[in-house]
Chain length 403, copies 2
Amino acid sequence: MFEFSITSRCPDTEARTGILLTPHGPLHTPAFMPVGTQATVKTLSPHELVEMGAECILANTYHLHLRPGSGIIGRLGGLHRFMGWDRAILTDSGGFQVFSLAHLRHIDDEGVRFRSHLDGSEQFFSPERVMRIQEELGADIIMAFDECAPYPCDMDYARKAMERTHQWAERCKEAHSRKDQALFGIVQGAVYPDLRQESAHFMAELGFDGYGIGGLSVGEPKTVMYHVLEETVRALPSDKPRYLMGVGSPEDLFEGIARGIDMFDCVLPTRVARNGALFTRRGRLNIRNARYADDPHPIEEGCTCYTCRHFSRAYLRHLIKADEVLGLRLATIHNLHFLLALVGEIRESIAAGTFSSLRSTFIEQYTPVDEAVRAANRAARAMAFVEGGVRRRSSSRGEAEGT
Amino acid sequence: MFEFSITSRCPDTEARTGILLTPHGPLHTPAFMPVGTQATVKTLSPHELVEMGAECILANTYHLHLRPGSGIIGRLGGLHRFMGWDRAILTDSGGFQVFSLAHLRHIDDEGVRFRSHLDGSEQFFSPERVMRIQEELGADIIMAFDECAPYPCDMDYARKAMERTHQWAERCKEAHSRKDQALFGIVQGAVYPDLRQESAHFMAELGFDGYGIGGLSVGEPKTVMYHVLEETVRALPSDKPRYLMGVGSPEDLFEGIARGIDMFDCVLPTRVARNGALFTRRGRLNIRNARYADDPHPIEEGCTCYTCRHFSRAYLRHLIKADEVLGLRLATIHNLHFLLALVGEIRESIAAGTFSSLRSTFIEQYTPVDEAVRAANRAARAMAFVEGGVRRRSSSRGEAEGT
């Protein structure tokens, strides 16, 4: 179970293709996993996810523990049966949500005591508790409980969070009992390459079925993330899957894969879809723009998704402007299909030895429309960093969907 | 085109089966038409509607005129192409919405000047204008512009509204030019049998492809509606389809069909679905109820809808409680499937001569859970009627979806 075979390697980058076998079918890597926070990938049916080729989805331990409760899901036969999805599922550790979403009460080496963001009820997450919850949920891949350091944070803080994550990883491994569930450790260490390498070595030594890389894309510049990624991957075993948590913009897929990442998840495609931002090879298109009011073309010519095969930009714009649910669905279908098709194309290019040329062609054409906004945000963050002070922030990293 | 053949008759009621041929396929009657106010049946894709056997849907002229505009839809090839639906469509006249939804400015024999409920822009609907808008939309069946009297209203008011509706019907017939569109007249006359008969005779004399019965289920007691229906149908030609506008609860389908009605539309199944009220043979089930939290059964055993084939009450409750769009979809699918399957069963029973026994079995089992609420409403209305005064009110009759 959970055999991971590497099927091809890129000659000039760290990119590779592989197959991870799970009790609910194979996961072809590199893989993008749509996020189904509350046991549903927002707006979609499981059959629509199958149609677009999703092999594994992510569900959030924190949310499902609070509602409807992992006990209920367990008694109903587990997440797969509960949500009618018979392919692979990965549940996260809940760590990120506890720190970013819950009303945090107290953290110590034992665990985290917090209040639910839904009803204020007092809750307690420890490594053992999080393992038990994830066993009740019954995903194919479960994650060790971790403490995710914010950005920016000083090295002393980052080290403490990393060391706690290491202790918790040991306890998670100890508490892990269901052999039909793969357990992934999570590497932390913020933006400090030395810490990241130390963390990767520690996790590799402990030995897991795969390795998550947490705490990235939380506000740091892209160049920093890419550098940290390189240093981290270097220290991880090459025969196990590497999962970059909470990252999944088109450009980050290419950059992550080139640095040896096998798995991604991100709320970005689904969240921006619901706001009318649609992926194309030339960047994001904002369907609310008046220029599309009578545009009879599909979102992107040649796209084979359900939306592009049947509907015009004009119709999609009308639905989104009129707040119609079908608009959210059709936009979500297109964006997820875009990313899943893109990683599929990337897998083929790695096998064919053409990954680097696909990467440069794509990046050249693709212009994230919000680049100016990002630049402004980066400048603001740099200022805050200079002024010092550790603060917590929310971003698309590891974030759950629409909470 | 628009040939209507009656294929069987019930021996002991006015119920009958028939086929209305349209340029976009046959409509088997009695028929229930799901409401797609803004060129989408809320939450559903056209393919899901086909899967549940819908042969004709209704779209709202008023809403589509305001957004995105009938001109845009016309230039894009009409409603069918715009929304990706290649079966029949009926558009209403906009009359009911102008009176119930718009900010009414002025009505005279020429038409109605009003302000859009969306942006306050000044608009003008006349019989000729409404015909032109419906021709741009390009539905298979279009409705004459009418003035819908409220409930309660005195006989003098009802007569004036009816007479204006008659004049407008003449002008609509005159303005009707697209021969690939059937034009239905609308019978008015409030709750007064004499007026209803007069209106039905007038419309029949004028001659239409079918006849709508408007202004019912706007607050009057059910017994009054059923009586008015009998008096109206008696005066209509038997060889043309009769369409009871804005009515479609399970019990009203039986009662309307027994009185000779061939077509229905109603927002009820879709609207209550989004609130978690689900149709079963034993009445409505409120899926938000805590008793369903760990219920592994489908909404209704034996139901063949997509929702019941794949998901439990527990999952559906979770989705609805968590405000997940998939919950709205699955609930809508079930309720529409329930009604479409029910009229299908009714058609079969009429052909088999067993309609009356199906009707009594169904009504005996079916307990609308909100019966107590209805009784209270009826009492309140009766009081208001006694106190006199014509007032406008909104109800599920002819109402558009989620405006």
